[in-house]
Point group: D3
Chain length 248, copies 6
């Protein structure tokens, strides 16, 4: 089984971090490739950046998905996920979606904990878009700050553990989801210090991608995720243009 | 007062249609400019296309919004609206949002009626994103088909009137919203044949943009619509890159 | 365009305050008349008082609305609004409804801030009745008190500004609505001290009334806001009795 | 125990019908008085009429409730109920509320069945106001018509039974509530012909009023149903004016 | 009228406490029998225990309900209530359901207050299962602890009163429900020290059971609470086996 | 990895069917054991039967789960799932939960399709309990009937395919979940005849169990799924009694 993880951020360090966690949880025989965006932002955070990232995700997947059994959108918030699910014949999962749905099997209410307050509205919108508002105890931020996106995990690990402990008590959460690609791999390192299960979004996405591939779902030819009718376009990256045109 | 309407579709006929309706309802002294996208699709319909349109809306607004008092996203479904609201110092409204909120003042439950089943999931998502599910009697489609996007209104007017009559009875709607830029102007022509108020999305957007300008709201410097911190980017159209970078 | 604002409170000072704000935001050519209730309360606050105010609104509108293009119910909480919308052939808007819907175009979540805890349940019911619970960050009260209803704004302005600042941080609101006719005009004066957009309910109602008039909606003859069949009555004020009887 | 049923309609026949059903289900030792409104409508149906009826309910209760252990608002839709609950020291129940809550103990989902389509929006609003939308399978109307409000039951009984049978199958209802005072007493007569429990709204209200009296709840002096602070008024019926003034 | 209260806990002291309160509020002529479970737990608290208690409730009712006019499930959380309602021809009510629905007639929002944090998730699930989330201000716990289940009330009364006072202010509750059989009878003793109505769950259940009996509902033969088709079983207590088999 | 599937039904044919599907989708190195209940019903269907099945699930898991890495509750409707999750140190998944959450990654709205109308209320309750009402297009039943539970799939396959086709069109579903253990394996056989992805509940449960094991979540020691404090009991099967007592 071959899985493709596309990082819509332009930070290769983030891609490496995600790829490393992804490979560490992948089943035997699962090969994972990870790609970094050539255009966009070092790290997507606001709604506007997420809009642009969605288009970038579609560009990356239209060019590189052929030959893979499933794809992972490597940004919590899942930019472009629904559109990719329309266009591609293979399963596509998002970090946030996979983490939240996995968390639903570990308790009644999950809290999302992240590292920057700028991310909160986007993540909160994502919870609502998934219809999971009734399961979510809130989106929380560990205080303090960080120097660079590659340093988030090293610098903030302690504060995230402390924040998780507080959130569980105050928000009555049964599970904590660490939200954001820069936190990939942290859950495994600190989970014994947090008194409820902690979900790593990259690990969850890999396992959910594997699960969907194993379920061998057919591509919809009806319903709202059937492939849209072919359509001409102007000024789009070629692979995306031809995918949407239906010429391949 | 100067309003900018950006059409994220590449069809100039659609832009003209919207501009014409917009000017017909604008208050005295309101000047309306309308722009057609240089890249993208003749007519955005699917979720994937909407993702791309959102980025195009941001490109258009970052380049052209300076000097205007408010902007209108000229596609029902409101691609890029929330992101634009983060980035720009002026009010921004969407066709769907403006039409739905206006409809809320004309009855308890509104139905959205459109011309192509491909649009339904996108419009339904938009209702949910606005938290208006409890006010919406459903998203409905007039049957049959059309030859080109510019001909939708001429060819489908009768079927839309008939569908509206049916929807009111079956879905217990108090108001009908005609959803989709190609229907701009139709409401005024057929409203006497439909037994409840009909909302034209372009007309509603113009009046709501005027209303917001008159309210003179300040740009948020707190909350989730404050302008995000400046951020570098790669490969974006220049005006958008510099807007997001915070260098203008 | 002629707009009628009916104040269901018996305080002429309140009517003058609302009229003054209304005229200050009205478009050129819009004439606004404002009437004070002859019976009722100096200031409606509880659910019981709101029930009585609803009947008073209907009495006032049935007598005075003829000749106007739209009417405004001049009490936050919107007593009698839905009933008036059934009976009258012209658009009718309420202060709360107009303010909340306008706020929805300025952010994801609005907070309502008012000056007396007695008002909170009524306002909260109003949010729910509008199906906007998912958009409302809460109904909040500035502490302290006031001497008379005409003095609310002068005495409480500072405390309201402080409360607004607190609410934005704690309730994660993107917009603040100043709820209550006695606060009309305050938003414009203090908005630069509050870090998110502030909506003035009277200003919003005027602009929404203008917008609806411009949309030229037909009076429903189907759906739940068609005019109810004529009905005899006993002991009602004459204009209301004849309007409900269908004899005019 | 003494219960007061106020009929906000001016039809004495309706009062008699309700009183008769009420007495037939009352426990031993429970005395029931029923009053007919002196002003208002023969039968309240629309939102506007309900607004006026709410004020009438408050007038009737403020004058006559002293000396009773509990009161019943004798109109499905419960005009004035929340306001009465604020003002009075005794329990007050409404026909709709009591019937819906009783129905909740007989199944998961109840359907409301009534005799005139004019009533549907009011009843639907009432379901929402009670937060019971998730338990309600819908508000339905038996077809055909009737000559006078006193004849509704005689003329429509068969059609209501047939409609109930249809509603149970189509709307997947576990219980049927007969909505509207003119249907009082019908449930007992036809219940064996309807395959799920049928709730009579007047019978339910009497039993719920008895239940509340037996629970001996104190009058709230905090929370949103504490008695509002005394307030002057102009032009109100004297007993209501003095109750609201706090002078008795 | 004969009512059967089954206590799915094995503590006879609890049964006596509930029986005593039940008899103190029962109408003249209502006879109440109370049974203690022979198997199970001294006091059901967790979800797992509630699952087991549900089966025990069905065992107890299948054996003992014949001859009674209605039955009461004597545990807040209402284990087995829906199943019992399917199987039995008589009305069955639960402590939580009856208390919550009664509370709905005394205010807009009720808070549940209990004596052990272990109970909170179960009670919260129960609120959701009843579709009353919109009416519930929260499930709260009085601090401290207790020695034995029979001593809860004596040891915790003061702390419960204090907690109630705090909850009303903070959670904006109009009514307080004392949740849990060990608190039966406490409401009557302390109600004057709590500024909103307090609902005793056992008293509420008795009055609701009486109310349902008086309404004389038929047993459903359609809808989701019709008696399920007879079914063989293995290893069940005989009365339950034969009830489910349909052989009696 | 060793997974335990407990079938709370007493039909060994059903266990074999589930085990066969489970093994067919399991990853290399995953060993699956399946157990049939010794007491209970051939096939659980009603709410009452589900209550009893929940207790049986806890009995089976308390006896047999030691030594396994995760457990699967082998009945759609997930009896005893939440309780098992409290008690056991390993992940536990249910057929319905796993199927619904998997379906959420294949489209916006899933429909559940089953083979007997008796199952519908239980399944619908299960959707609500999971907070997934906003994602579920409905619970539907294929018409006709079947002779024995072991023959359901053979006899009803054609009618289920036809019903699925109808449901997709009418209920606007993006995904279909085949609900009920007797349908295990059917999805794979018929999926090409159904125009949207079809989820097999047993296959989904196996893959989700594998995913959770791979995520290596810790057992909660806080939150509402921490293991409840040890508690004595009477008359329970020994392994369950000692698990709940905390003596092992």
């Amino acid at each position: 089984m071959r899985l493709l993880l596309v990082n819509p951020n332009t930070s290769p360090g983030l891609t490496e971090r995600m790829a490393s966690v992804a490979r560490s949880v992948a089943s035997a025989g699962v090969e994972i490739d990870a790609l970094t965006a050539h255009r966009g932002f070092p790290y997507v955070a606001s709604r506007a950046e997420a809009d642009i990232a969605a288009a970038i995700v579609l560009e990356m997947l239209s060019e590189h998905a052929p030959g893979y059994h499933a794809a992972i959108v490597g940004a919590f918030g899942d930019p472009g996920l629904a559109g990719a699910r329309e266009l591609l014949p293979i399963p596509v999962v998002g970090l946030a979606e996979a983490a939240m749905l996995s968390a639903c099997m570990l308790g009644s209410r999950f809290a999302i904990l992240t590292f920057s307050s700028t991310l909160v509205p986007w993540y909160r919108d994502c919870v609502g878009r998934n219809g999971l508002g009734g399961r979510c105890a809130g989106v929380f931020v560990a205080g303090g700050g960080f120097t660079t996106i590659d340093n988030v995990q090293a610098e903030m690990a302690e504060r995230i553990v402390e924040a998780a402990q507080g959130v569980i008590a105050e928000a009555e959460a049964d599970v904590v989801v660490f939200g954001g690609a820069p936190l990939a791999g942290l859950a495994e390192r600190v989970k014994e210090r947090i008194p409820v299960p902690v979900v790593d979004c990259v690990a969850a996405a890999v396992k959910q991608a594997e699960a969907l591939v194993a379920l061998r779902p057919r591509k919809a030819v009806a319903g709202s995720f059937r492939r849209p009718p072919g359509k001409p376009s102007t000024g789009l990256a070629e692979p995306l243009a031809s995918l949407i045109a239906g010429t391949r």
